[in-house]
Symmetry: none
Subunit: 192 residues, 4 copies
């Protein structure tokens, strides 16, 4: 998890304050971006003391990951029987998340601070990327078993094609309209 665990004794932490800080973090991320986000500004907007923020989150990265957890959640690829259907869901999950402005800001922060803030990268990978990627790999393996994909299909490569293309379109090119992107990728990957 991202937050620092509270003690069981003494005055309990205020839940209102908690949510206020997270909300302040989200709005400031949207307004200023990750590099210009300061703890000072978060505390000021949340109406709390700076110390309170530091007491609960060890780093800016941890705070941001918790504040945007719902925006980042990609989910898990279901097993609905059809390779094309399952991959279609997977792609819609990706495009939806990558098109979310807050999610895009955070993902860029994660990769831009790979060395600076390795905790953030690790958490992001294990909490968000790994579950989706594992279930998407399973969906592709089922496709191989069904013959929708050739027996020697390089599954990690295909996942990189899928994620990389969506990332390129939605985050780097910042194209909001992703109509047809999902179908085009499906055609490319499942062709043959």
């Amino acid at each position: 998890m991202t937050a620092i665990e509270p003690s069981r004794r003494g005055r309990p932490r205020s839940q209102r304050t908690h949510e206020a800080i997270l909300e302040a973090t989200r709005s400031l991320l949207l307004e200023k971006g990750y590099p210009a986000l300061t703890i000072d500004a978060v505390a000021a907007r949340a109406g709390t003391a700076r110390t309170t923020v530091y007491r609960r989150w060890a780093t800016k990265g941890a705070l941001v990951l918790e504040a945007t957890a719902e925006h980042l959640a990609i989910g898990i690829v279901p097993d609905a029987g059809s390779t094309r259907t399952d991959l279609g869901v997977a792609l819609r999950q990706l495009t939806a998340t990558f098109s979310d402005r807050l999610a895009a800001i955070v993902m860029l922060a994660v990769i831009a601070n790979l060395d600076e803030d390795p905790f953030m990268a690790r958490t992001f990978r294990s909490e968000i990327v790994y579950p989706w990627r594992t279930s998407a790999a399973a969906a592709l393996e089922r496709g191989v078993a069904r013959g929708d994909l050739p027996p020697d299909a390089d599954i990690p490569f295909l996942l990189d094609v899928i994620v990389g293309t969506v990332f390129q379109r939605a985050v780097i090119n910042a194209q909001s309209e992703t109509d047809g992107l999902d179908e085009a990728i499906l055609d490319l990957v499942l062709a043959r």
Copy 2:
């Protein structure tokens, strides 16, 4: 261009100092990463005054782009007669550049600071991305004319597949060994 233009009049700028600053920038980028790169540290390592750096580059981004220009240069896709050959060159250009640690650091900085430092993004796009992408698009169009690609091929989409996949592998997954990646992408794009 990135640097502040020198005047023709007055004492000329020291070329030694110029190169010392760029070299200091490169080494600090590798050691600390872009967000932690400070002008103070650059000047100190270069053995110059802080003011000298400010005199020549308006922003940290401009300095970094000039310091890493050779690392970022992707080049232009040649027209050698064969679609597969031309695209193969294009892919080797991409993987070579994206695997360069300095180039990766700077590209991440560019996209992470899209809003913060729009000058940096604009320069990177126009100097590096645009020329390559234009020539790569031409190569794909020649492929369509030759029948190596279907007549209705979505060329911008294919470029996003190519760039996105390489970016995902080389930069985000930071996989140094990219053996076979070029061939796999070629097979994927030209398959039919």
Copy 3:
């Protein structure tokens, strides 16, 4: 007052630090003079951060006035019954203060920065000059009432003679030995 008022809440200011800054200010004033006094040097000698100085004093002038308050204090002219005695006290107060090297440095700074730092001038006038001048004027008025001074004596003029002469001797000519000066001024002012 001169310092920025501290808040009642939060961590209280360190008194040790406060005194260290004032002492550093005094010693640097004596060594370098007012124009060459820098906040950087004060903080360095006091062993604190530069920000701590800025947090407590808005301007160099405010810091210097507080650091030298005891040296600047002229006091108030007493009412002891005799015009000559009272004025003698007044003169000894003036010569004592004006002969203090630190006080002289600060007074010159005040008048040299009348336009630059009007706050400093205003504070100096209201805190130091005004109380003394008012009480000295009262002493002269008592002298008029007693017949030690002519009924039409121009009291502001006489005060300017007294202050101006002492200032000229002690500060501008920087004569340390002021023996006989007090008596000479008394003879001049009370002659008749």
Copy 4:
């Protein structure tokens, strides 16, 4: 003198430039005061290069003294036969000079930078103060000889009374109306 001597060979100095720099110095002194006067600003306003200023004057003080020489000139006390007349002239010289805003700014700069810029103080004393003070002392001595002043009159003291009082009024109190001041001082000094 104050300026750096030019060489006899090579291109002669421009007289126009010289006067432009002095005029710029005067106007900036009036606008900003001595402490805030910068060589950069002088050169900019004079339309010359900074180097040109540095080539001609070694210090800011030397430049300022030359620029304001006419404003500072007090003159010499004449020998017109009457003690009261001569001293009256002396006082009018003083009040005229001390009431000149430019002269006041420079005199304050001189005494505020006694330690910082001893050259300025020395020059001011020898060029301006000494000649006047010597001739004023001679006038007082003639007064003693004539019996207008007691035989044991302390002439340096009386000069300090005169100068100090005028300085106090005109410079420190910055009273523009000095009507009657001359007569009052004359009465005080010559009384008896």
